[in-house]
Symmetry: C2
Subunit: 329 residues, 2 copies
């Protein structure tokens, strides 16, 4: 297999950088072909896979630690939305020519840091080399009670629509990284860039919402796109009040300078907050869940019969929504 | 996300090509962020991941159905060696510029064909686009009783070393595809090429060997490399008699023309046969296992105390082993 010249062989590479990350007994120290893993009694495994590509989802010059942590976190965010507890992950890494031994060491240290943060173990992996960009896929495995894992399809007319945290920060952060938003203070630009570079999977909130939320999804493709998934799978319509969409102070200042950036709030991806729906009777349970998770949430609208999404401004006028969907480098 | 021009959006692409492959209830029709999967009572999940890269593990002009089937089979081979029953898989596909809608349709039909053959379901996935070669990763999930999953590390001095089927066919097949081996009959070249293009994971044999084999591994990197893994993990030495290594009739004819091709038999990868060790007392149980699995196996040597691998010829002279390890495009 052709490899960048300073990289060790696949076996050395696994022994040096990856075997120390295989802390779970079921990983067999990466010294076998498989991992063996049983969920806790009464629990099921919850699985999802996500890929990030050099030059598409991250830049070659991004710090490798951050690349590693974002890779884990975009996957953990899917577990978070479903209320699952993380257990471990398998890594399929196809390294492009830009990957050096130093890059790998830093990448592995980023994995180690977030394994510690989220209680994860590397369970298995495969490394290949390729002449194109580095392509990194993680299959993450969590566990949860099978019947409690919230679907996208449970939203019902009359329920409230809620989001955690603040929206649009990551899309604005990408602009800041690209050198836009020059009229903002440095500290605002850094806050927004940080939200893009290192999302925080809302694991505690997702677990606290079990039994309370009727539908959940993490916001990775943008509010409108992901709310659209919930509406489609639940066969309902959504009404959203633009002024109720929660903004960070930095985002509010960015929109004050250029109101057109509101499209970043509605359409920009990569915030990795949780969007959920819940019955109006659940307000108290929601408040308790948010307190347990130490994370604010906001009601942004209401589920109705029908299909599609309607966003209105303060005066009740419809807001044209530029359906941005994905937004990457 | 930038995409080859005739490809539909990620959502349409999933709906059209991949959702029909999500036959397992736990896949939630790919209409959620996660799959939810509990092993059967008393069983654990067995997980592994493998990647194939366009231009490295397969050629752009290879039939997409075959690419899809090989992708599943190289993963299933790891489950086979461990005696696990396949359940499903997650697919991370990063499509390069050469991928068209027609290619995708054919690729999905290949997945469907082998899902049927092996009783698998697609459980989840992620598709991205990238400016380099297509990179396809599969995480496959099987189930087995946790305590029976055979390790690489169980080989003990005095035990026999066995392999299923015949070795070297895939490496010779790659030569045939490259236009070498011109002195062989067409039918021999086609047989060998077929062994390279479409391996057969030895699932029935792996399951039949549970409780009989002391160590197992599938031969993906070549006999010497994979036997080397068993020796290293088991802290033992291996003696192999070259004349006992099983050859297909086509491989025997290829070696008659060019004896140097024996390096393909010892070092060539991609055969995906099972290598296993077992106590001399287990001969009868092995024969019964092979009959249940309808697959021949051969004893090729003996495990001894020490380290390393010694291959000898008919006269007992040591054979120099070119440790080929990987062998890809």
């Amino acid at each position: 297999m052709s490899r960048p010249s300073d990289l060790p062989s696949e076996f050395e590479l696994i022994a040096r950088y990856f075997a120390p990350l295989a802390t779970h007994e079921g990983a067999r120290g990466l010294a076998d072909d498989v991992a063996v893993l049983a969920p806790a009694p009464g629990k099921a495994h919850v699985l999802t896979v996500d890929t990030i590509v050099e030059g598409v989802h991250y830049l070659p010059e991004d710090p490798p630690q951050l690349v590693a942590r974002k890779l884990l976190r975009v996957n953990l965010s899917d577990l978070a939305a479903k209320g699952a507890r993380p257990v471990g992950y398998l890594l399929a890494a196809s390294f492009g020519k830009s990957v050096t031994a130093d890059w790998l060491a830093a990448f592995a240290s980023g994995l180690a840091a977030d394994q510690e943060t989220y209680g994860l173990s590397l369970l298995g992996g495969d490394t290949t080399a390729n002449p194109g960009p580095t392509t990194l896929s993680v299959t993450v495995i969590g566990e949860a009670e099978e019947r409690t894992v919230v679907r996208r399809s449970g939203a019902k007319p009359g329920e409230g629509i809620y989001v955690s945290g603040t929206l649009g920060d990551a899309a604005l952060g990408l602009r800041a990284i690209r050198g836009e938003l020059s009229r903002l203070e440095t500290s605002d630009r850094e806050f927004l860039a940080g939200r893009f570079r290192l999302p925080e999977p809302r694991l505690a909130l997702g677990q606290a919402l079990l039994g309370v939320a009727s539908a959940t999804i993490d916001i990775s493709d943008g509010l409108i796109a992901d709310l659209g998934h919930v509406c489609q799978e639940s066969a309902v319509r959504a009404e959203v009040a633009l002024e109720d969409v929660p903004l960070s102070a930095a985002a509010r200042r960015a929109l004050a300078v250029d109101p057109a950036l509101r499209d970043d709030v509605l359409g920009g991806g990569d915030d990795y907050e949780i969007l959920f729906t819940a019955s109006p009777n659940a307000e108290r349970a929601l408040t308790e869940a948010a307190m347990r998770a130490r994370l604010a949430f906001s009601r942004i609208g209401t589920i109705r019969e029908g299909a599609g999404i309607e966003v209105t401004d303060r005066a009740g006028r419809p807001v044209a929504v530029k359906h941005a969907g994905f937004r990457h480098f």
